[in-house]
């Protein structure tokens, strides 16, 4: 599914990843853990650049369009699956069949009441869930999500993560929350200063083992 061999990557001209060897098989749920600056985001970007096809992405800055409604922001996930004409019509007058699909996804993320509200008027946590909703609408073989629940509370984090893991067979998440990583993923990758220093099944680890990374 994913195969990276001695990859390096730079972020803004500074080398942030070194000698990355990573193999991920279909169906695995991976969590990338490590301090901020350890290279989690860069690794997510690196995987996306290698496997852009059929991959849904939740970037750290969400990549939302503030003046468009929640519905349209979610719909952007499927632009390439429709004709330009259909997309333009939908921009002016949302297509009912698409609205229904989006509404279902938003309901699962406790966002349905904001369906037609401009994203610019949402709180940070709501925006984050819109970015997640887009990836769920987009579907695909692989989900890459960079800190997808950093701005939502504990209870909602669990709801959102559950939706994401159910929606995709293979998932790679960057997560700074160790408890969540252990609870939801089956494999943990620990990063430190741009190198992979830990790669282990989740059930073999405890929260204490991971604390050394922080």
């Amino acid at each position: 599914m994913i195969l990276l061999q001695s990859e390096t990557a730079s972020y803004q001209g500074v080398k942030t990843l070194h000698d990355i060897d990573l193999q991920v098989s279909e169906g695995e749920k991976l969590a990338l853990v490590g301090q901020s600056g350890s290279g989690k985001s860069t690794l997510i970007k690196l995987i996306y650049e290698h496997y852009p096809v059929n991959t849904a992405l939740v970037p750290q800055d969400y990549g939302l369009v503030n003046n468009l409604s929640v519905y349209h922001n979610v719909y952007i996930g499927c632009l390439e699956k429709h004709s330009t004409f259909y997309n333009l019509v939908n921009l002016v007058r949302p297509r009912p069949e698409q609205v229904e699909i989006v509404r279902t996804i938003l309901t699962g993320l406790q966002l349905e009441e904001y369906l037609f509200r401009p994203v610019g008027r949402l709180s940070g946590g709501q925006k984050q869930r819109v970015a997640v909703a887009r990836s769920l609408f987009q579907k695909g073989h692989l989900l890459l999500a960079d800190e997808p629940v950093s701005s939502v509370d504990e209870q909602q984090s669990r709801v959102v993560l559950k939706q994401m893991l159910n929606g995709f067979s293979t998932v790679v998440l960057a997560l700074h929350d160790i408890q969540l990583a252990l609870a939801f993923c089956d494999r943990i990758i620990g990063l430190e200063k741009g190198r992979i220093v830990l790669d282990s099944p989740a059930e073999a680890l405890t929260a204490k083992d991971l604390l050394s990374l922080y």
Binding site: P52, V53, L57, P59, D61, Y62, G63, L64, V65, N66, N67, L68, H72, Y75, I76, G77, L79, E80, H82, S83, T84, N87, L88, L91, A131, R134, Q138
Partner: protein, 503 residues
């Protein structure tokens, strides 16, 4: 190193420009030639008290024409500019646009008059062409400087058009809209002055009323024009625009036809340099060219530069006098309202009309041009700086009056002031050249005379030189702004008012 007091680079540059302007003054002819200038000025202002609306059908027609040319020209320019903005990264598009922009609407009108005569296409292209080039540049900047995070999150397989309409346009729409509506205001001014070269817009009615000494009609026209611009946000509505655009072609339509012989002759004979047409020898051609350069281009360039530099510094001085009039740090609301009225009138009146009026009153010299350019540009930048100053929070124990001006506000505003002034530098130069049409010996004077004498080949070379001069000043201004680290960010365009400085 810091034990000795040193002036800032902005201070040094300011004095350099002041000295240059002072030096230029020696070479400028500044005098009042008419016999009773103040008497005439008094008569003019008496007209303000008795505006004459009796000839309503003529006035109404002039306004309809002005509006129709402005709306169609700006709409067309904005559409073409928008398309060009998508390919603005191509170097040759940038260069062509810079060159087209550098030629003033009135010069374009003079060129198209030769090709199409009084056909509506002349006015449309005179506005549309330079506006398209400006729109292309500013739209491209808006696209370039806008937030791209939404764009990067879209799948690369989505079509370009879908991606653009979903991930870029919605968040940049406000920028496009505010800049375009600001340009519509400029378009109204451009359209009005096209009347001075014979199109049926406001300038035509205004100049004939002026020549006949009907100052009451002059004021009726000017007051209506202020009203039109002041209420622009009420009558320019997205829902109404299509209506205007459909109606406009019927308003500007006239029964003149395009003569294809004319078009052909213009490109194959008129603009071909005479020595080449006649197949003259190299030395004769050189004689022709050097005669043009020495006797027309050189004095034209010298006078244009002299006028520009004096007008630039005069605009700066007026700005510094004007901005406190509308600043909350100096005047109470009642006083500021008066200041606003003064600045609105000065910046709404096209500098060409201001110069025309002063020239009629004082006779032909550089003085009317300097005063007109300084008043107009000083009012524009004064308005911007005044608005900007209001955002500055002073501490409760801050000094008052002149001390507050010199110690609290001027130091904080000076960088912004210079940035705006240098933005206007190129615009002032373009206007300086064009004011030659009124009889001041800048490049426009020589261009206009060549056209009057049917020497279009000479006129084209002079217009080309004028454009080069503008591009040069634009480059110099950009260099200075970068050197002085004057702020030039996207916020300049965020609000309608800030755009004014950016052109």
């Amino acid at each position: 190193m810091d034990s000795v007091y040193k002036h800032s680079p902005a201070w040094n540059v300011s004095w350099l420009f002041i000295f240059l302007a002072g030096f230029s003054l020696f070479f400028s002819d500044i005098e009042i030639i008419s016999l009773e200038p103040w008497q005439e000025l008094k008569r003019l202002f008496m007209g303000l008290l008795t505006p004459d609306w009796s000839n309503l059908s003529e006035i109404g027609e002039a306004f309809l024409q002005t509006l129709a040319f402005a709306i169609l020209g700006v709409a067309g320019g904005s559409f073409i500019g928008f398309l060009l903005a998508q390919i603005f990264h191509w170097r040759w598009i940038q260069i062509s646009c810079a060159f087209i922009r550098a030629i003033h609407e009135l010069f374009w009108a003079l060129i198209f008059l030769q090709i199409f005569g009084l056909h509506p296409l002349t006015g449309l292209l005179a506005i549309g062409l330079p506006y398209a080039a400006t729109f292309a540049k500013v739209y491209a900047e808006i696209l370039e400087e806008g937030d791209k995070s939404a764009l990067q999150a879209v799948s690369r397989d989505a079509s370009r058009i879908s991606t653009f309409f979903y991930a870029r346009l919605p968040d940049l729409w406000e920028h496009f809209k505010s800049y375009t509506s600001y340009r519509l205001e400029c378009g109204l001014r451009s359209s009005a002055i096209l009347g001075f070269v014979g199109l049926p817009t406001l300038g035509y009615t205004l100049s004939s009323a002026f020549m006949e000494g009907h100052y009451s009609v002059v004021w009726a026209l000017l007051l209506l024009f202020y009203l039109l611009i002041a209420t622009i946000r009420y009558w320019v509505r997205p829902a109404l625009l299509p209506l205007y655009i459909i109606a406009a072609p019927f308003i500007i339509a006239n029964d003149s036809t395009i003569s294809f012989d004319n078009v052909q002759r213009f490109f194959t004979e008129d603009i071909i340099p005479t020595p080449i047409m006649r197949g003259e020898s190299l030395s004769e051609s050189w004689h022709w060219l050097s005669d043009l350069l020495i006797n027309q281009a050189l004095p034209g360039i010298a006078n244009t530069v002299v006028l520009t530099q004096v007008a630039l510094v005069a605009s700066g001085i007026l700005t510094l006098l004007f901005f406190p009039l509308i600043s909350t740090h100096f005047f109470k609301p009642a006083g500021r309202t008066l200041g606003h009225v003064l600045l609105v009138i000065l910046r709404t009146t096209p500098e060409y009309i201001l110069a025309y009026i002063l020239l009629q009153l004082w006779g032909p010299s550089m003085l009317p041009a300097i005063v007109a350019l300084a008043l107009h540009n000083g009012a524009i930048i004064g308005h911007l700086i005044g608005r900007y100053s209001t955002e500055i929070q002073l501490r409760v124990d801050a000094s008052r009056g002149l001390n507050r001006y010199l110690y609290e506000l001027l130091p904080r505003l000076y960088g912004q002031f210079l940035a705006f002034l240098f933005y206007r530098w190129e615009i002032i130069m373009r206007e300086s050249a064009i004011l030659g049409i009124l009889g001041i010996a800048t490049l426009g004077f020589y261009i206009d005379s060549s056209i009057q004498e049917l020497h279009f080949d000479k006129a084209m070379i002079l217009i080309f030189i004028t454009a080069l001069l503008n591009v040069l000043v634009d480059t110099l201004s950009r260099y200075l702004r970068a050197k002085l680290r004057l702020r030039t960010n996207v916020d300049c365009r965020a609000s309608n008012d800030y755009c004014t400085a950016k052109e």
